[in-house]
């Protein structure tokens, strides 16, 4: 019997924990030389991406939020530092930048998404965000020096129906962190914070958040902190010279700092695969919401940001998808069918200001039930940021 080649593409949290979890799940086959797990990543570093938002407030240094990728992997994982340039799902082959054509028997696509501010005219030149390290550092330099004016916060959703933006809770988290940060700097009374949300947010209309229960408590939270809030502002374009943001709804607002959750898209190789049915060239792969298989390709699984599901594009989603994928992949190998079902579960601890936190969880059927933010919640989040995350990546938790 030939060796079964299982390939995971992507060295982010989804790919890293899944490669490790696959070794655990398939260890009898691996030990017997009947299966091999490979991880293909184009980056020798693994970044804890949620910490980028802390960089924007001067709370994390680069070396504190990354580790060498190999140090997080079990030795049975065959790490290939290469870029996938093409997916040939029909022939079960990957075209790599090194020129190699890599065959697989089973594939896990965990390639994440790419912030693309250039998709809104003027946003790249005049806007800021915290979804990558360097932009977050640039934002920190602005936030730590602004003495007066207006910080305008906005959110851009994908055009694909019912697909969320990256890390659904992040705009709210950073708004509350910003309020605390400016108060600590002693300039809050001279800096106006305006939190806005677009008219269409997944299935909701004219809300402050993508889930109704949280959206309904936000006005009182923001009012208590003198944060202005506004629904129905869908960013259309930005005038970088005049520092004015224009909305699709016809409004124009001046700003000193524009903190905008940017448009996102899948990576080039996924976009070019021709499999996605998502509009606006966003590239989300059509994913079975229960088995997490790529529609039409039983030997391919999709997870994390790359899916077209109505589930947060965040590590908390990967954490729950990974065991389902491992069980289903083992099921296909051992009994010829998938055995596990993903229920849409996501869990996280929201950072509610610089020190408070709120544990949350939801799934396909039930939304987040907001609870009061607490210092204990904040300590739990800090503990996760500073240590527990790396155990999650190693597949220990």
């Amino acid at each position: 019997m030939s060796i079964q080649d299982i390939v995971v593409v992507g060295g982010g949290i989804g790919g890293t924990m899944t490669a490790n979890n696959l070794v655990t799940k398939l260890y009898p086959e691996i030990r017997a030389g009947k299966a091999r797990v490979s991880l293909i990543s184009n980056d020798p570093w693994h970044y804890y991406k949620p910490a980028f938002m802390y960089v924007a407030f001067g709370m994390f240094y680069k070396d504190e939020l990354r580790r060498p990728l190999h140090s997080l992997l079990k030795p049975e994982v065959n790490l290939l530092l290469d870029s996938v340039e093409g997916f040939d799902f029909k022939d079960s082959r990957l075209r790599l930048a090194s020129g190699e054509n890599h065959h697989y028997d089973y594939l896990v696509v965990s390639t994440g998404c790419i912030p693309s501010p250039e998709r809104i005219p003027g946003l790249k030149e005049a806007g800021d965000h915290f979804y990558q390290h360097d932009p977050a550092m640039q934002l920190y330099h602005k936030l730590s020096t602004i003495d007066k004016g207006r910080i305008f916060i906005g959110v851009t959703f994908p055009k694909t129906p019912n697909v969320p933006h990256q890390c659904g809770i992040a705009p709210m988290e950073t708004t509350l962190m910003l309020d605390d940060f400016l108060r600590k700097r002693g300039v809050r009374d001279k800096v106006e914070i305006v939190y806005t949300y677009p008219t269409v947010s997944q299935l909701l209309r004219n809300c402050l958040f993508l889930q109704r229960d949280v959206g309904e408590v936000l006005p009182s939270v923001f009012d208590s902190k003198d944060i202005r809030h506004q629904t129905g502002f869908t960013l259309e374009r930005v005038d970088p010279d005049a520092k004015v943001a224009y909305s699709e709804e016809g409004e124009a607002v001046e700003f000193d700092i524009l903190m905008q959750t940017p448009p996102i898209r899948a990576v080039d190789a996924v976009l070019d695969s021709g499999i996605s049915q998502a509009p606006n060239n966003e590239g989300w792969l059509p994913t079975n919401r229960e088995t997490l298989q790529l529609e039409g390709f039983a030997n391919v699984f999709v997870m994390g940001d790359t899916v077209d599901l109505p589930i947060s594009k965040a590590g908390g989603s990967c954490h729950n998808q990974s065991p389902v994928i491992c069980d289903n992949l083992a099921g296909l190998m051992r009994v010829g069918k998938t055995v596990a079902v993903y229920d849409g579960k996501v869990q996280a601890i929201a950072q509610m200001g610089l020190d408070a936190g709120m544990p949350l969880w939801y799934d396909y059927d039930d939304d987040v039930m907001p609870t009061p933010a607490t210092k204990i919640g904040g300590l739990m989040r800090k503990a996760f940021n500073r240590g527990i995350y790396w155990s999650v990546a190693r597949g220990m938790i």
């Binding site: 030990r31 709370m59 140090s71 079990k74 030795p75 049975e76 009061p372 210092k375 204990i376 300590l379 800090k382 503990a383 500073r386 240590g387 527990i388 790396w390 155990s391 190693r394 220990m396």
Partner: protein, 151 residues
């Protein structure tokens, strides 16, 4: 819920009796049933003053939460990560090396092992690391055994 309780307290004009009477949560039958069951369970602990220990424990935990700050969490989690990483690496090492060694039908002779060691740069580096660790152990033992002069 906290707001509702606070509102009821304000309306009761400071009277504990009217606070108990006016509060809709406390006048709820399910709340009272739950309270009665809880009191029944707590009664032996209260009577023997053992419940004081629970309150003291809660108080101590609360003190720790109050005292904890970002620097403390960072230091504690650094220790956690080092421990977890050590356990992860040691477990990997034992499992991987054990599987490799166990897969060989006949274990290599000493001479074969030495030849393999000589040809494998990583194995030689591992040996160098083990020797360095032994050196550190010896250095520590030498220092611990030394008698320090009196002040």
């Amino acid at each position: 819920m906290t707001t509702q309780l606070a509102e009821t307290r304000k309306q009761s004009n400071g009277s504990f009796e009217s606070f108990l009477q006016d509060n809709p949560q406390l006048n709820d039958a399910a709340t009272q049933d739950g309270m009665a069951a809880l009191v029944e369970k707590l009664a032996p602990l209260l009577q023997g003053e053992r419940f004081h220990n629970v309150v003291d424990l809660l108080s101590a935990v609360s003190d720790v939460v109050d005292m904890a700050d970002d620097a403390m969490v960072q230091k504690m989690m650094k220790g956690y990560e080092e421990l977890a990483t050590g356990a992860f690496n040691l477990n990997n090492l034992m499992r991987y090396a054990g599987a490799q060694a166990g897969a060989e039908k006949d274990p290599p002779t000493v001479w074969q092992s030495l030849r393999r060691l000589n040809a494998d740069a990583d194995a030689r580096r591992g040996l160098a690391m083990a020797l360095a660790m032994l050196g550190q152990l010896g250095r520590q033992a030498r220092r611990d055994a030394a008698t320090l002069p009196e002040n």
